[in-house]
Amino acid sequence: MTTVERPMLPKLVGDRIKRREDPRLIQGRGTYVDDVKLPGMLHLAFKRSDVAHGKILSIDTSAAEAMPGVTAVYTGAQVKEFLGPMPIGTPFPAPPHYSMAVDTVRYGGEPVAVVVAADRYLARDAADAIVVEFETLPAVMDPEAALAGQPAILHPGFTNMLGQSDTNLALMIPAGTGVDMATMQVDNSAIDDAFAKAEVVISQRMLNHRLAPTAMEARGVVAHYEPGKDEMTIWSSTQNPHMVRSNMAGLLGMGENKIRVIAPEVGGGFGAKINIYGEDYVAAAISRRLGLPLKWIEDRSEAFVATTHGRDILGYIDIAATKEGKVLGLRAKLIADIGAYEMLLTALVPTLTNGMLSCVYDIPAIRAELYEVFTNKTPTDAYRGAGRPEGIYFVERAMDMLARELDMDPAELRRRNFIQPDQFPFLTQAGNQYDSGNYEPTLDAALELAGWEELKRFRNEARGEGRLIGLGLAFYVEICGIGGWEHASVTVERDGRVSATTGTSPHGQGHETTFAQLISGQLGVPMENITIEHGDTAVVRHGTGTFGSRSQVSGGTVMMIAGGKVKDRMAKFAAHMLGAPFEDVGASEEDLLFEDGMISVKGSPGLSKSFQEVAGFAYMGAGNAAAAGMTYPPGEQAGLSEEAFWEPGGATFPFGCHISMVEVDRDTGELKLLKMVAVDDCGTIVNPLIVDGQIHGGLAQGIGQAMIEEVVY
């Protein structure tokens, strides 16, 4: 793991600052994809499969083609003539997945034909007039039956990583103690030994069920190919415009330098807008064929079936422990129901579940086997937490069951198994290296805040009265900062204002505020003089994106690295401008303070230049400076624009403890949340207001999953 020198935290870090994004959004003046309107723009509507599994016998588009305002209709087979299978971002073998079904549909909602028409009403009318005849095939709904090849095989021509054909098993990944990931060789002696020694073993089948991410803004794309320039501009409701550009370029056979992707305001993502979807590729490819701008906006009914789902992992969990509650080993067989196809990160997400099986505990032996299986459902991919909440759920529920079996307070059981502060950095048996942690104070804070002992008394009394009250406690650990490198640039303009770019691409996280806080503190420039640009590949030259809890960890850090480079150069210019007096006080460039729009010598506040003056000097150029009787610092050229790429050497592992109390109404079955306490150790907080909002939103989605949300087939 590479280590980075811990920077001094800039002023403003930790301040509860109102968001700079908000004025436009609260006035309805943000521009989302559906607000983009181009001259001559036509609209797309998709005809989708209403069967889960079937052979396409015929598609009659004649009625649609004859309708007024319809420019073109394409079937999946026709689109295949000019658009290949979609790229994915995982290294495992995967069956081909075309943007639209070619001869077989494998989930309800899969697109089979597309209409290009003058407006969205006409496009919808025409799509509805398309008649598709299917030969229905048996639908594969149960992932365990699917593993046994029942009742059908989704991808008969596919051979998986194990060399197996005629199987619904997409891949199998072992993990944990005794597993050599490079060779996939497995030595089970440690885990077998742990279970042999165990005084208590708990075994449970658990389902972390399927969810729909459901951003308030559904997906949408505007693709505009300009034939004369051979250039494509794509507005996409995406979390990662640069990734859209790369994948588009690859599939369309265009240079990345010929494609500009703009993520305008994005109305939520939650992982589902990492993907580049069939509709995006189709819009771009048809725009290129027709030489016209095209818009496609997903409606809500489509979003529930055509945007990736999340979770849906079945776990067979065994936990081995001593009578004193020391966990000796954990065994997991995980079956991920990934739906019909592999999208960008479909195969990767459940592997993160494997990696979370140690939670916050020092478990001496962990052994997991992950089976990812195709079914006739919407493909799964990242959804808030992406594989990690699933793993935490399995471990924490097993811990609760163990506590019950041992008749031990669940808080006490956890306390006995924590990784201790002096053990960090800690390599878990599940394979992740945790950077830091100190779990007991977080547990104590949560217990105190919740009034744990009192809640237990209340529960016991209420149960005595016949009420059905449950009290739950769970710990979690997160993996933040995954996804590789990130990029930032910081430019001090001629007038001393700062334009910074980040390759992360916010959709509600407030980067324009928090990243400006970092730069403001670092360079001593007021926030109102700083702009943070994002989401447009023509302005932000490089980027990875916003996902995997990475923006502040990766994007914030690289922003400060780029800012630091500019600062170093400004220090050289400033020191040079200050000339002899600077040297007289024995100052070095490190002694320069950047504060309140001034660059001054520490301890000699009179010895200073304004930020603006120094910027002006840096843009003068050596020639003009010489003409004015000045010189440039040796080796310096004009301009103050610096950029940086940076890749974290590892991830960060923040954690927390949540406590909740619920009641089930005995008569109606209604579930009520009586109390919810969350204590989260986020590390350094840049803006507490924004962090509160993020935590609240995560809680609501977690509570939603626990109490009311599920995609049911």
Binding site: V13, G14, D15, R16, K18, R19, E21, D22, P23, L25, I26, Q27, G28, R29, G30, T31, Y32, D34, D35, K37, P68, D119, R120, Y121, D125, T214, A215, M216, E217, A218, E265, V266, G267, G268, F270, D299, R300, S301, H507, G508, Q509, G510, C682, I685, P688, L689, I690, V691, D692, G693, Q694, I695, H696, G697, G698, L699, A700, Q701
Partner: protein, 168 residues
């Protein structure tokens, strides 16, 4: 489909005349015909409330109103809530209390908040939660929205929870 019906709708104080298809939704009329894109569409089915506007002073989900039904009406959208360059107290409240993240539900949420305070200027927290039950937000978990409406009502925020501010 080509039968178009003339309508006259006052939108944000300005009379707008148009000939529209009977099936054209008010939300699309505002967004496509008038370019007032602050009114968002989130569900197409009257559930999420992102498209909330006022029709003759009453809040209405404009994805479930035909433009022809608004003929002769007075419609106000988020763009008309405050004079140019100024913010309505409800908008101030949302800004102050971080009542939004991605901003997509926000215009509708603000319109519903304004509507609520017109009927009940001093609502309890529970009444606020009930008052915005027709508006969905996927980002905030609602607590900051409740705080925002309390702020706009001039009330003390009752559930200010969260991360501690910077330690000196």
């Amino acid at each position: 489909m080509s039968n178009r019906i003339p309508i006259s709708v006052t939108v944000n104080g300005k009379v707008q005349e148009a000939e529209v298809e009977p099936r054209l939704l008010l939300a699309h009329f505002l967004r496509e015909n008038l370019g007032l894109t602050g009114t968002h569409i989130g569900c197409d089915t009257t559930q999420c409330g992102a498209c909330t506007v006022f029709v003759d002073g009453l809040s209405a989900k404009s994805c479930t109103v035909f433009a022809v039904q608004a003929d002769g009406s007075d419609v106000m959208t988020i763009e008309g809530l405050a004079p140019e360059g100024a913010l309505h107290p409800m908008q101030e409240g949302f800004w102050e209390e971080h009542g939004l993240q991605c901003g997509y539900c926000t215009p509708g949420m603000i319109m519903s908040g304004v509507s609520l305070l017109k009927e009940n200027p001093n609502p309890t927290e529970q009444e606020i939660r009930e008052g915005i039950a027709g508006n969905l937000c996927r980002c905030t978990g609602y607590q900051h929205i409740v705080n925002a409406i309390q702020n706009a009502a001039g009330q003390a925020v009752t559930a200010h929870v969260g991360a501690p501010a910077k330690k000196g």
